[in-house]
């Protein structure tokens, strides 16, 4: 393939992924409100469009037209750039993610991955970690005590759980012997019995828990927990700047769902009679549902409990898991 063709194809892929995941983030907010409502015996949004489907558009219009407030004592440049960092990091992480199996359209083979780098998983984890600067800078620059507390919590939470995430996926990576997500996926090509979850159940659980912490979702939504610190790092944000944080959070949810499915649950390999593309969509949908389900069911933990859980439970268990995996492999 020529260079020009490659560039054009990549640009189209970037555009498609941006559009799909922005729309997906918006639609997930609707699904989230509906599912939370059903679980709490409510109906959720009902008035905008049939069964409230157009609520996303109403919310979008509201976000775009809301007054954009920058607090008086805020550090203006950093305050403006922080939400962009958050959203950019979340979408950059998606670029190394193989989303579907490769398919042929109009006689042209499409690889639904923007950049098949050989350290894909490392890149994704790293970029998601860099996304931490969004909440951190937002909280510190907004000259609000809630923002500052939120920023502090962001750092302790994300930094601690980076360790648990990294150690937990080390064991499956040792088995596969590659950091490329395509290789990890192809390792499980043999079907249901080859899924890495059967070899690494503990790593799966730890990675899932760390994923909840890194996407700032309910048992660990400490950095913007309303009951304690108003809205944490996003307290002073309004309008589309706040919306960018939100889109970033939902894009991260998708990334984590994809990672869990790809590393542990067979990725986009065909699952019995189900073709690969449908199989991965089912897995993603289940994990997105699980995010909402957990949010409806569980209370959140205290920051000190979170630290205790991360450093005294998850990290030792992950290290022991790596040790056992190493012994078995050798």
């Amino acid at each position: 393939m020529s260079d020009t063709g490659y560039i054009i194809a990549t640009l189209i892929k970037i555009l498609v992924i941006l559009i799909i995941f922005s729309a997906g983030a918006g639609f997930t907010t609707y699904v989230e409100r509906k599912i939370l409502a059903f679980m709490q015996r409510r109906l959720g949004p009902m008035n905008v469009g049939p069964y409230g489907v157009l609520q996303i558009i109403a919310d979008g219009i509201k976000l775009f037209t809301k007054e954009d407030i920058i607090p008086q004592n805020a550090v203006r440049a950093i305050f403006i750039i922080a939400p962009v960092i958050s959203a950019t990091a979340a979408f950059t992480a998606l670029s190394a993610l193989p989303i579907l199996p490769q398919f042929t359209i109009f006689g042209y083979t499409v690889h639904p991955i923007i950049s098949d780098i050989n350290v894909g998983i490392l890149f994704i984890i790293g970029v998601m970690g860099a996304g931490m600067y969004g909440p951190l800078l937002a909280g510190m620059s907004s000259s609000s005590k809630w923002g500052l507390l939120g920023a502090a919590r962001t750092v302790i939470q994300l930094l601690s759980f980076e360790v648990a995430t990294g150690l937990s996926i080390l064991a499956p990576l040792m088995i596969v012997g590659s950091l490329s997500l395509i290789d990890i996926n192809n390792y499980q090509i043999g079907g249901f019995a080859d899924w890495l979850i059967w070899k690494q159940p503990i790593a799966f659980i730890i990675f899932l828990i760390s994923g909840y912490a890194e996407t700032n979702r309910t048992p660990f939504d400490l950095m913007e927990h309303e009951a304690e610190i108003v809205s944490g790092y996003a307290t002073e944000y309004s309008g589309m700047r706040w919306g960018l944080f939100f889109i970033g959070e939902y894009a991260n949810m998708f990334t984590i769902s994809f990672l869990v499915s790809l590393i542990f649950l067979g990725g986009f390999n065909p699952w019995g009679f189900i073709p690969g593309a449908i199989a991965i969509l089912i897995k993603i949908s289940f994990f997105i549902f699980a995010f909402l389900w957990v949010r409806a069911a569980w209370p959140h933990v205290r920051p000190d409990q979170l630290m205790w859980f991360c450093w005294k439970v998850l990290m030792p268990v992950a290290v022991i898991n790596i040790l056992i995996t190493g012994i078995v492999l050798v």
Partner: protein, 203 residues
């Protein structure tokens, strides 16, 4: 339950749960944590939420489309009733409601007409002040001022007045037999129509 127990707040059928003292020693703490971890209480929570979602037992009342029934004693916007016999205003202008009104929102304008009877010229209620306590309806000797069931009222001004024309049952509505009697305290019974007799002078 102990019958001799003096605290009357604790009734028969109360279930007491056994609350243990929190663990203090490290080993006890460890046992407590592991017990809680492997007991699966978190999954009970997840199951309950999923069950509720699948049952789909929704309690939402979609308010403008669906409305809950209100109590017959509900105290909403006032109505002035007409006499069943002559369709005249029941109000005799005695001024008791004006006197008892604790929010001071009722004004009655009366005059002595040519038969030297009191005639009610106007009857206004300031709904900006009214607290809907129901004293006026309770004190009225003629069951003239009552509380209706129209609870959806919004005013464009803070002082939202209602005059006699607004409150009094419209004549066409009255003639169609649509005057709704107030079912709350002091209202006539449902079979009150049977007991209405014409005054002796009429026959």
């Amino acid at each position: 339950m102990n019958k001799d127990f003096k605290d009357r707040n604790i009734k028969e059928g109360y279930k007491f749960i056994d609350i243990k003292a929190p663990a203090s020693k490290p080993w006890d703490k460890f046992l407590q944590v592991s017990k809680r971890t492997f007991k699966g209480e978190l999954f009970v929570g997840l199951w309950i939420m999923l069950r509720e979602m699948l049952k789909f037992n929704i309690h939402t009342v979609q308010y403008p489309l669906e409305k809950l029934p209100i109590s017959p004693r509900y105290r909403a916007i006032h109505r002035l009733q007409r006499l069943l016999e002559s369709a005249e205003n029941r109000c005799i202008g005695c001024g008791l409601c004006e006197k008892i009104c604790i929010a001071n929102c009722i004004r009655i304008d009366t005059k002595i007409d040519k038969n030297s009877r009191k005639e009610v010229l106007d009857y206004t209620i300031n709904f900006g002040r009214c607290i809907f306590c129901g004293y006026c309806a309770e004190v009225c000797p003629e069951l003239a001022i009552v509380h209706g069931k129209d609870y959806e009222h919004a005013g464009e001004q803070r002082a939202d007045f209602a005059t006699k024309e607004d409150l009094l049952t419209p004549l066409d509505e009255f003639k169609a037999g649509k005057q709704k009697e107030f079912l709350g305290f002091g209202s006539p019974s449902k079979d009150a129509d049977k007991f209405i007799k014409k005054t002796p002078l009429a026959y």
